[in-house]
Symmetry: none
Subunit: 237 residues, 2 copies
């Protein structure tokens, strides 16, 4: 999603000016904005700019070579780095990756592959960022679970559940539309075998039902006598 808000800004650190121009044109045609630095020192300075989304870093350079730039940036640097190199040496690749590079491409490279790798890195960052903030929310049949806050809402209205109730509802929703036995609920959620006169699961389900029904006219939990419970998927049936 962030990827389409504005052109992604790529910083190329490479002393080959001819290549820079070619690349700039190609990446522009793919919707990227390219800035160039022709030696390690100036590249290092620009690498800390907040609006740089990705760095293409050549290894062979005057003043400061690629590995030295990597070291200077540190492995926790927040902008991803794709290394470019004339040699395809494995030891170099490993060293680069260990120093904090995200990927490694040997020259001469195909533009399409470079583009694919750039996109792969940016896509992964985008997914990782969102997975954190929107911390996995799932909605089925008007019931929404928010794992980040361990909260539940039914028809857009919050419902207060206890920890165990939340886990049971979660498990039932994971298997929505299919029967979930009390045995598996007990083992998964309560962590113990279901014994003859243990009515805990029944009580928890009863409580969940009551709480959900305060926000919805229809029961979302169906009892299958002698078999277990089903969280109804909605629609037909």
């Amino acid at each position: 999603m962030t990827s389409f808000e504005q052109p992604q800004h790529i910083l190329l650190i490479d002393d080959d000016q001819e290549l820079a121009e070619l690349l700039s044109e190609y990446l522009a045609s793919e919707g990227f904005k390219l800035s160039c630095c022709f030696d390690g020192t100036s590249g290092l300075a620009k690498a800390f700019d907040d609006d740089i989304d990705l760095i293409l870093l050549d290894v062979m350079m005057p003043k400061l070579n690629g590995f030295e730039v990597l070291k200077a940036l540190g492995s926790q640097h927040k902008t991803p780095i794709l290394m470019l190199t004339a040699k395809g040496d494995e030891a170099d690749r490993v060293l680069g990756l260990e120093l904090g590079a995200d990927d490694y491409l040997a020259k001469p490279y195909n533009h399409r592959e470079l583009l694919a790798r750039i996109k792969a890195i940016l896509r992964r960052i985008d997914i990782a960022k969102n997975s954190n903030t929107h911390s996995s929310i799932e909605t089925i049949n008007n019931v929404t679970l928010n794992h980040g806050t361990r909260t539940v809402s039914c028809h857009q209205q919050e419902v207060i559940l206890t920890g165990t109730e939340y886990q049971i509802l979660h498990y039932l929703m994971q298997h929505h539309g299919q029967i979930v036995s009390k045995e598996s609920l007990s083992e998964t959620v309560l962590g113990r075998r279901l014994t003859s006169f243990d009515r805990s699961i029944d009580m928890h389900v009863s409580n969940i039902r009551r709480k959900l029904l305060s926000n919805s006219p229809i029961d979302k939990l169906k009892t299958v006598r002698g078999a277990g419970y089903i969280f109804l998927s909605g629609e037909t049936q």
Copy 2:
């Protein structure tokens, strides 16, 4: 941070059982946990498990090949994927990356390089997730942190916190609106595992609460019984 809470879990989808064993041993020695699936179908099913941190996906496989698994997972799948292939074909690499793979390694590969690539991907995800929150928090819900002077104010009035209290509040604010477990607070701030009768975190949180409440009528820290604490973002909820 997340990286040290528990061993990272890697899923290998490959029909070569011998390789699987070798890899399992090697990765275990590096602190990873490896699960294996020997065909695409079962691998695909396991790929959706929440506790998988990274997938190693072989291209040549019975039932469903690597590309088909990729397609089935979709390019927005939240677990990163490293493709393994016998051929080093460039067209294959590009196709894999475009379909949603994060990286590509040709067999036979060096274990050290595989490890470096795995770590590079996981490191990048970790940084991306944290960059969201870690960067300049300053003010949330009328509570302001001033990193330069390590001072805190609540509703424009200074609050005196000890070092540990400051760190705990900082961590909670970094994850505002989300549950933060006592375990991760203990590990991150106190630098030790939370043990059965350790009440330090409770005490620190209690003290932070009291100090903040002297400047504000409403409690900014919510307790989620059995789960942890949330620094409330303000507004609704």
